[in-house]
Every structure is written in C-alpha cells, then in structure tokens.
C-alpha cells in the first residue's frame, strides 16, 4: 500500500513537472521577441552569447556584480544542490558509474553546505528590510521547503539511518516499472513527499527561472542589429520585408 501510494505520487509529480515545464518552455520559445534588447555591452556573435550565458549560469556573473552576499549564498546553494543531485544518481543507476562513486563524500559535504546556504538566504529574506519587503509568503515557503528536503536528507545520513539497500531497490523499481517495497522510515517518507511537492510546484512557481534564464532576451541576444536585420515574426505589419 505505502509503496503504491509513493510510487504513484512520484510518477504523478514527475509527469506534472515534465508536462508543465515542457508547456512553459514551448511558450517561451514560441513567443516572439519583436525587438533587439540585449543589455549592453553584449557579445556581437552567437558564440559570444553562449559564453555570456555560460558565465551567467555557471558562475552567476551578473549577480556577482550586484551583491557579493547574495551571490555567495546563492551560488553555494546552487552548486551544492547540483552535487547533491548528482550524488543521488546512485539510487537510480546500477551499476553506479565511477564518477558518481567518487563524488559521494563531497555530496555529503555539499548537503551540509546547501542547508547552510539556505539558512543564510532565509536570514537575509527575514532580516534585511528591503528583501523582506519584496518577499511574498511563497518566497519564504520555498526556502522552507528546500530546507526541509535538505534537513530530512541529512537526517537520514547522520541520525535516522534508513535501509539504503531497500531504498535503492525502490528507486530502481520506479525506473524499471517493477515496484519494490519502500522502507517505512519517517525521514525517508518525509524526504520523498517534499521532493514530490517541489516537482509539482516547479512549473507554477518562480522555479521557472531555471528555464527562463535561457530565454531572457536581454541575455541571449547578440549585439548585431546594425549587421543583421532583425525581423520579428508578428505585428509590425508596416515593416517592408
């Protein structure tokens, strides 16, 4: 029973997230960008744009220019999250690739760093008046959710050890559509439920910044309007073509 409930819940969450994100990305991709609006100075070539985008996505270049604290906490959170997600691949892959084995100990450190960074981000949101002013309840709750996911994960590592082998069997079972019993550990159940919630709200929340950044015209357009004519697909009927 427990196994089926969680299996169905996780399938549903995955489905909603994939479909929701797909729809959103489709919208972003098909909505026209009528005018050239890169924030200058901007690269003049497509290659340059790729580099600019990489610098934003990998090292948060603009955020670094803006505010060193937000950058530090934000970057540590995202980098740690990436490591933690990679570490979790071991529950879904058999045999576990060499690289994933290698990062296991770093994954744990990353988990701790992630929780610390989230605490710092939330502290800023609560304590800095201007950031408190712009925060809606969902902005706080998002941090709480991520914190709870991180904390329940760390709890399983350090205190309430769960049956890792059984947990892995359950995960692999999900992947191969051959369900295996899920250990009834409270920490694990909480962890999985919260992850499902996160996946569910992904396409309806500010988590859309993840696909959004790639479609931001101020960042993904090249500065070449004098060299290449930008012809918008809609409106501007009077434009001679």
């Amino acid at each position: 029973m427990l196994t089926s409930v969680f299996a169905v819940m996780l399938y549903m969450a995955t489905l909603v997230m994939a479909a929701g994100l797909g729809h959103r990305i489709w919208l972003y991709a098909t909505t026209p960008a009528p005018l050239k609006i890169p924030t200058m100075p901007a690269p003049t070539t497509r290659g340059g744009v790729v580099l600019r985008m990489l610098s934003e996505v990998v090292v948060f270049r603009s955020l670094f220019k803006a505010n060193k604290w937000i950058w530090l906490f934000g970057w540590v959170f995202h980098a740690a999250l990436a490591l933690v997600v990679m570490r979790h691949l071991r529950y879904f892959l058999q045999p576990v690739p060499e690289a994933i084995v290698l990062i296991q100990p770093f994954g744990v450190l990353a988990g701790i760093a992630m929780v610390a960074a989230l605490v710092a981000l939330w502290a800023r949101r609560l304590l800095v008046p201007r950031i408190r002013y712009i925060s809606s309840p969902s902005d706080h709750l998002m941090l709480v959710l991520l914190l709870a996911i991180g904390a329940s994960g760390l709890a399983m590592k350090f205190w309430a050890h769960t049956d890792i082998v059984a947990a892995k069997a359950f995960c692999l079972g999900l992947v191969y559509l051959d369900w295996q019993p899920l250990p009834a550990d409270p920490a694990l159940l909480v962890h999985l439920t919260l992850v499902a919630v996160l996946m569910l709200i992904f396409p309806f929340s500010k988590l859309l910044h993840a696909p959004g950044v790639f479609f931001s015209p101020s960042r993904n357009q090249a500065d070449d309007s004098r060299e290449r004519r930008h012809v918008p697909p809609v409106r501007l009927e009077a434009v001679p073509r």
């Binding site: 803006a66 950058w71 201007r130 002013y133 015209p217 500065d223 004519r229």
Partner: protein, 518 residues
C-alpha cells in the same frame, strides 16, 4: 517617514556616497504622478480619450495580448526569484527611499496582476504568491510608479536573469494608454511629431531661420562659411538630431560642433524638416506602433532626399531606437551606402576623422573646462558605437580626450554600464515631476561632487538631449553652475581649428595676416 523625505535638501544631500543605501520610506512617492493626457492627446494617437467603462477587463485583455507578443515580458514576469540583487540599483530608490522604486517591487506591481489572472498559482492561492485583483488602487499605483521609472536598464545589468524593468514599465504604460489613462507629456509630444515633425512643434520656417542664424554665428567666430543645410536633395548624409539642438543650450552648441565637423569632413550633408527630430517617445510609452510610425519618417526623409548615409546627433534614447530598432522598424536600408554603419552616431563620425588625422584641434581652447563624462543610459546599456562592445564608452571619451587637456572619470561603479540616470529620462522630463527628478538625480550629483572636490572638475559632458535638459535644471539646485553641463560636440567645436579659419591663422602665427583679411 514620509515627512523625513520631504525635507530633502539637495545641497546637503548632494554629498556622500552616490550608492548609499537609503532608509525605507514606504509610500513616500505615492503621490508623485504626471498629468493625465487630455482626450484630444489620447485620441490623436488612437487611444481612448478617457478611462473606459470596463477598464479592468480591457487592461487584463491587453496584458494577455502583450504576453503573446513579447517574450521578454513573459519570461521576466515568470523568472524573477525576488533575490533582491536589483533592490538597490535604481537611482529613484536611492534618491527617494520609497520601496516601490526598487526595481523588483516596481515589477511586482504588474506581476501581481499577471499572477492573479494568468497563472494557476495566482488563481488558486492569490495570498500565497502575492497575487492581487486589479482594483482602482492598483491602477493608481501603476500610474504613479510606472512613471517613476526612466527605463534606464540599470537594474537589468545586475539581475541574474537580465530582468529589465524598462520592458515592464513600457508594457504597463501601453496597457494604461489602451484603457484611456495616458501620460500628457509623452502623448502630447508624440502628437506633435506626427503633425509637425518634431517634439517641440518647431515649424519649418522657424527652423530655417535658426539654422541661418547659426551659420552667421559660426562665420563670425571663425571666418569660415560653414553651412547648416536643410532639405537639400542629393546630399550624402542625412543628419537626424533631437529638436532641442535647434534652440536650447548646451544642445545648440553641440549642433554647431556637428556642423563644423561635417564641414571639415568635406562630405555633403543636410537636415530634414520631415525628420527634424531624432527622439522617439513611442518607446517611452511602450507603443510599438507609434515608435514605428516615428521611425518611418526618417526612412521617408532619407529616400525623399536621396541621401546615402544617416547620421544621428547627440540623443540617448534616439540612439537606442536608431541603433537597435531602426532596421527592424523601418528597414531594410538597402538604398543606403552599406560601406558605412547604418545608422552612424555623430561621435563615431567625429572619432573616425580624428583617427584619420583629418581634424586639427587647439586643446588649449578648452583649458577652462575640467571635464568628466556622463554615460547616458540608453547609449550605455542599450546600444553601441564602433566595432567593439563597449565602444559606446570609449568613443565619446576618446573624442573628449582629443579636444581637451583635463579629463577625469567619475567613480567606476557610477559610469559605463553601471552609469546612473540623470533622473529625467523615459518620458519623465516634465515640470510636474520636478520633485522626483531632483531626487532621482541625487546619486549622479554625488558622483559629480566627488570628482569636483577631488579633481576640481568643473563641467560634465553628455550626449543626450534629455540628460542636458535635466541637468540644466537640477545642477543649480545641487550647488553647481547651470552651464556645468556641456555637449560633447560643444567641446569639439571649441577646439576644432577649421581649415582657412581665423583660428588656424592665429595658430600658425599668422595673426596679422588674419587681421588684415578680416
């Protein structure tokens, strides 16, 4: 706290760290609103004369249309994570402390409506995600705070997703126009461009007389008959310049500079009555239609006159529209000479001649000026000059250094891509917004004060008609001279030694000969 704000004293508050964080003063600027456009001004642009009956529905429908038409709007409304990186980047927030002038808070005024009517979370749990119904109060807030954004894009530089509040403000103004709540200043001006050809409503006859007067002045000063041709068919270059260049100071001194440079280049050129305005306020009100209609005048003028090149004078947002949008809105310009950039900025033109060694300068003529340079937002963050990214910073500075001996930059985090708005851009250069303009200029005035004290800077050069007009107004309030703002080409004009001029003769030690000739 609102009371504290009203004690704003430019002389005292004009000193200190330009980027100093203000204390939050909730609602301090809620009452700042520009005059509402009259029915006549509205209807001339095809907008409803006054607030329509079912304005809520109409506004929401218009927002829906814009979401379909503009990727930037859609992505920006979704992507913001309220990280706060932009909160202290707006000069209007720095100057007023009103939290609604923090870029993200300004966006949220539109975002809360977007969420309420266009997102699942906002339809189901409005209180959770900060979604709100579109009420009269919200509309009042929109009218107030979307007219406290100069669309300078400073926030966009620092946002991790490039969220550009200017795009949001333009959309909000477009929506307000579409329900009959327009801004008088901008819409009246757009009407004048449609009817007369320029923002000031300057008639062709007056324009002709002005140009003739300038020709006389230049000849008197230099002894060289420099012409300022109007509507001359067959000229090579069409010069399109903001109409303020025809009558205001220091704009006009800049126009004299262009004329001298163009004369010295030997390339024939002309102004046009039809396109006697570079400015394009269609951008400020977010109306692509108006923007296109204004842009097409320039194409038409170029075709009618049979020119081969288009050069733009010193104007910030005009250069954005010219550089980034003109080809899209009014191109293709295949009838022009593609060996030259289409369009070209007058600073690029002058800089090229300097590089080729074709201009001779007597820098000492500018020795009374200890200069700094104000990067205008739209040039800095929305366009380029030259071949390399960042040319928009280097080229005007290179021109200034070529014509004067004393040049000092302001603090690095207040110039170039981080430049601070003059406080009057984006359609806010109107008297009833003087309080906002004064406070919005504070960060720039502080940066200027710093170099004035450290390096004895006396003058600030700019390449934007709005910046020049705004600074002429606010500089005296901050304890500077009104004429501390100068045009870049005014400095060029001062130092340029025209071939065959009295100055040339003097310089070559032939003063006596020159005197006899005179």
């Amino acid at each position: 706290m609102a009371a504290e704000q009203s004690k704003f004293d430019p002389v005292a508050d004009g000193r200190g760290d330009p980027l100093e964080m203000p204390r939050l003063a909730c609602g301090a600027m809620a009452a700042s609103k520009p005059y509402v456009a009259t029915p006549a001004h509205q209807q001339a642009l095809g907008f409803p004369g006054e607030l329509v009956e079912d304005w809520q529905d109409k506004a929401i429908a218009r927002l829906g249309e814009l979401l379909e038409e503009s990727r930037s709007l859609r992505v920006y409304l979704d992507a913001c994570v309220r990280c706060g990186a932009c909160t202290d980047k707006c000069h209007y927030f720095l100057g007023t402390g009103d939290p609604n002038n923090m870029p993200v808070a300004r966006q949220n005024l539109l975002r809360k409506i977007y969420r309420r009517y266009f997102t699942l979370s906002g339809k189901l749990f409005p209180w959770l995600v900060g979604a709100e119904d579109l009420t009269k109060d919200v509309l009042e807030e929109w009218y107030s705070y979307f007219h406290q954004c100069s669309q300078c894009r400073r926030c966009s530089v620092f946002c991790p997703y490039g969220v550009d509040t200017a795009e949001i403000s333009m959309a909000a103004r477009d929506i307000m126009d579409s329900i009959g709540l327009g801004q008088k200043y901008s819409n009246e001006i757009i009407g004048k461009v449609f009817n007369i050809g320029n923002n000031l409503g300057l008639q062709p006859k007056a324009l002709k007389a002005t140009l003739a007067g300038l020709e006389e002045d230049i000849e008197e000063e230099t002894g060289v008959p420099v012409r300022l041709p109007l509507d001359e068919k067959g000229a090579t270059i069409l010069l399109v310049t903001p109409s303020a260049d025809f009558f205001a100071s220091p704009h006009m001194e800049g126009l004299i500079g262009y004329a001298k440079v163009l004369h010295e280049s030997g390339v024939s050129w002309t102004l046009s009555t039809q396109a006697s305005e570079a400015a394009n306020f269609g951008m400020f009100v977010g109306s692509q239609d108006a923007m296109q209609k204004i842009a097409l005048r320039i194409r038409k003028a170029a075709q009618d006159l049979g020119v081969k090149r288009i050069v733009f004078g010193e104007c910030g947002h005009a250069w954005r529209v010219a550089y980034s949008f003109l080809d899209t809105l009014a191109g293709p310009f295949d009838f022009l000479d593609r060996n030259y950039p289409v369009p070209q900025h007058i600073c690029e033109f002058t800089h090229d001649l300097i590089q080729q060694g074709k201009l001779r300068f007597d820098k000492s003529k500018n020795d009374e000026f200890r200069l700094t340079f104000h990067d205008s937002c739209n040039v800095a963050r929305a366009s380029r000059m030259g071949r390399e990214p960042g040319g928009q910073f280097e080229i005007p500075r290179a021109v200034l250094r070529a014509v004067c001996n004393h040049f000092f930059d302001m603090a690095p985090d207040t110039i170039r891509e981080s430049t601070l708005c003059c406080g009057g851009g984006g359609g806010l250069l109107t008297d009833e917004l003087m309080d906002l303009r004064l406070k919005g200029a504070m960060p720039r005035m502080r940066a200027l004060r710093e170099v004035a004290e450290e390096h004895g800077v006396t003058h600030m050069a700019a390449i934007c008609a709005i910046c020049k007009a705004q600074f002429s107004k606010v500089l005296p309030q901050y304890g500077f001279e009104m004429d501390a703002i100068v045009s870049v080409h005014q400095m060029v004009s001062n130092a340029l030694v025209l071939t065959g001029s009295r100055q040339e003769a003097e310089l070559d030690g032939k003063a006596e000969v020159a005197l006899q000739e005179a």
